[in-house]
């Protein structure tokens, strides 16, 4: 069977597995949703009130029935009702998604803009001091947790420049582009830092591999200028693993950067999920996790396809 068909056929199967896992995992969480929603006031409910709430949210039925209803609903775009927001889950998730998408794109642009030139520079200066410096910085970047970088940024800005990053009220890109960029730039750099470090390392080693290839030697011996050999002959092929890496990393970031969103108080998908977990908002956790996993799977599938399209040596049926 063709690799592509195989990937596409197992896709719904894995999605089904993900939904089963998410649904039943959430049912293992101790404590019930009604108590979590009302806090101490839940104690004031009469049994009849409690039962009517449970039936409104559909949590009074057998668990397999609940799962069946949930999946049927999902297929119609109905993700259930969030107990914390008292609204359907899907709009709540979609409202947070633009921020997460923007942050992911923004940090990917930073990572590629810094990482690819740095990697190419290091590869063309192989084993010279400048190469070692780039490698050391990239290694440090990969070893520093995002929250350390984020906190250091906040510290440097507030102590040496006396500015505090705007936090609290978030402005969207469309209502106030400048204000939005001002809020996004620090989180994006924070995320982009480690991302750029991986891009640098991968593009350096890919570039080194390609520079040793026969066709590059041929180009050189034909008298092509060094700069053109690097940027026009070698780079396109060296970028293939960079595409794979960026795609996978981008997929991760679409799941929300929980820690960075927490530090910079950004209302993204990651914090939504984190809050939903602590609120025991079953429907919202399920919806958010499924949404994130779905995006992640789609991005990974696209990366695989791009990989196959970029490299003619990879035969789609050959795996």
């Amino acid at each position: 069977m063709n690799y592509l068909t195989q990937r596409l056929l197992t896709f719904p199967l894995i999605l089904l597995g993900v939904s089963v896992l998410v649904f039943f995992a959430i049912r293992l969480v101790p404590g019930d949703a009604i108590t979590a929603m009302l806090g101490t006031e839940a104690g004031l409910l009469t049994p009849a009130q409690r039962a009517s709430l449970a039936s409104y949210f559909g949590i009074d039925q057998p668990i397999v029935t609940q799962y069946g209803h949930w999946v049927l609903g999902l297929l119609q775009g109905d993700f259930g009702i969030s107990t914390t927001y008292g609204k359907p889950v899907l709009p709540v998730i979609l409202a947070r998604f633009p921020l997460t998408l923007e942050l992911a794109l923004f940090s990917m642009v930073i990572a590629l803009a810094v990482g690819v030139p740095a990697g190419v520079f290091a590869a063309t200066h192989n084993e010279r001091p400048s190469d070692l410096v780039v490698r050391l910085v990239a290694m440090l970047g990969q070893s520093t947790p995002s929250f350390v970088i984020g906190l250091v940024f906040i510290y440097v800005l507030s102590v040496y420049f006396h500015i505090l990053p705007a936090m609290g009220s978030f402005t969207s890109l469309f209502s106030d582009p400048l204000g939005n960029l001002g809020q996004m730039i620090l989180p994006a750099i924070t995320l982009g830092f480690a991302f750029a470090a991986s891009v640098t390392r991968v593009s350096r080693s890919a570039m080194l591999d390609v520079l040793g290839d026969d066709y590059v030697r041929t180009a050189r011996s034909k008298g092509a200028p060094a700069r053109s050999v690097v940027w026009h002959h070698a780079l396109p092929n060296a970028l293939i693993p960079v595409v794979t890496l960026s795609g996978v990393e981008f997929g991760y970031l679409l799941g929300g950067a929980v820690i960075v969103e927490q530090i910079f108080a950004l209302p993204g998908l990651g914090r939504l999920t984190l809050d939903a977990i602590s609120q025991r908002d079953y429907a919202l956790v399920e919806g958010a996790v499924l949404f994130i996993a779905f995006n992640f799977m789609v991005v990974n599938l696209l990366v695989d396809l791009a990989y196959a399209a970029l490299d003619p040596r990879i035969r789609l049926g050959g795996r």
């Binding site: 947790p145 929250f147 507030s158 991760y252 992640f296």
Partner: protein, 279 residues
């Protein structure tokens, strides 16, 4: 021995190994209580002291010694990282080996289950585990182990499949070697190289994740010292007491760097492809 010598010759291997050894020693000293101060004792009169001769890395809001707390924090992080990676490596290797050995339908079932776990971004899967188990040290271990198990299964399965088709395995079968013998001696022993590299890199990632989980308040709970919690606490006080941010930050970074450097050196040494390139 040959590999040990190669690690010592490899510059980043040397640095990485030194850092790891220093951290292990620190964690060990902390575990037996050999710290400059009592890490849990609050000395109100010495709150928020800048680094000085008595308190090398300063004190926190409750007058606790940062250096001693870091020593215990390293131990905590290492405990979580090592136990979670050990569990993931064991379970993942077992699944990968069996999937490759049994083949056919079992291979399909086992690896599709692994794919389901791989369909979650790692931190999300960890959050899900925290949601079920509640925050704590054991939760961090479980969460990190669950994230890494499918990765080990994948790392083991592909080379195990190609080893299984090799002549020496067929020969061992005709000699009447038991399945267990073939699996452990012929397959597992030949997988040690990729496994060691993966384990080292997994340890770096586990340290990062443990710190992240406790930073979010989901891992090790106070008053136990933990690098992530110390950093989270530093946020509100960093303009007054920057040492509370700087030292724990550097400690985490250096520890992870040690494993990354060591892992890189191991990959250079053990991977036949890079060996050929160097030759």
């Amino acid at each position: 021995m040959r590999i040990l010598a190669a690690i010592v010759r490899h510059p980043s291997g040397r640095i990485g190994a030194t850092i790891i050894a220093l951290y292990l020693l620190t964690a060990l000293l902390g575990a037996v209580g050999f710290t400059p101060h009592n890490a849990l004792k609050q000395v109100p009169i010495d709150r928020l002291k800048a680094p000085n001769a008595a308190y090398w890395f300063g004190t926190d809001l409750l007058g606790r010694d940062t250096f001693s707390r870091l020593m215990l924090g390293i131990g905590e992080s290492f405990l979580v990282a090592f136990s979670s990676v050990a569990i993931a490596a064991f379970v993942g290797t077992l699944i990968g080996l069996l999937a490759a050995w049994w083949g056919a339908i079992w291979d399909g079932i086992l690896m599709r289950i692994m794919d389901v776990f791989l369909a979650f971004p790692a931190i999300l899967l960890a959050l899900l585990v925290v949601a079920i188990e509640g925050p704590g040290t054991v939760t961090s271990v479980t969460a990190i182990a669950i994230v890494y198990t499918p990765i080990f299964a994948r790392v083991v399965r592909a080379p195990a499949l190609s080893l299984k088709a090799r002549d020496f395995v067929a020969a061992a079968r005709t000699f009447g070697s038991s399945q267990r013998f073939i699996l452990t001696r012929h397959l597992l022993l030949n997988l040690i190289a990729p496994l060691t590299v993966q384990i080292t890199l997994a340890l770096a990632w586990a340290l990062l994740t443990e710190a992240g989980l406790s930073f979010l308040g989901l891992g090790t709970q106070p008053p136990s010292p933990s690098l992530g919690v110390m950093l989270a606490d530093s946020k509100s006080m960093m303009t007054r007491a920057p040492w509370l941010l700087i030292f724990p930050g550097l400690t985490i970074m250096l520890g992870i760097l040690g494993f990354n450097l060591f892992g890189d050196a191991l990959r250079d040494i053990l991977d036949p492809r890079t060996q050929r390139r160097a030759a």
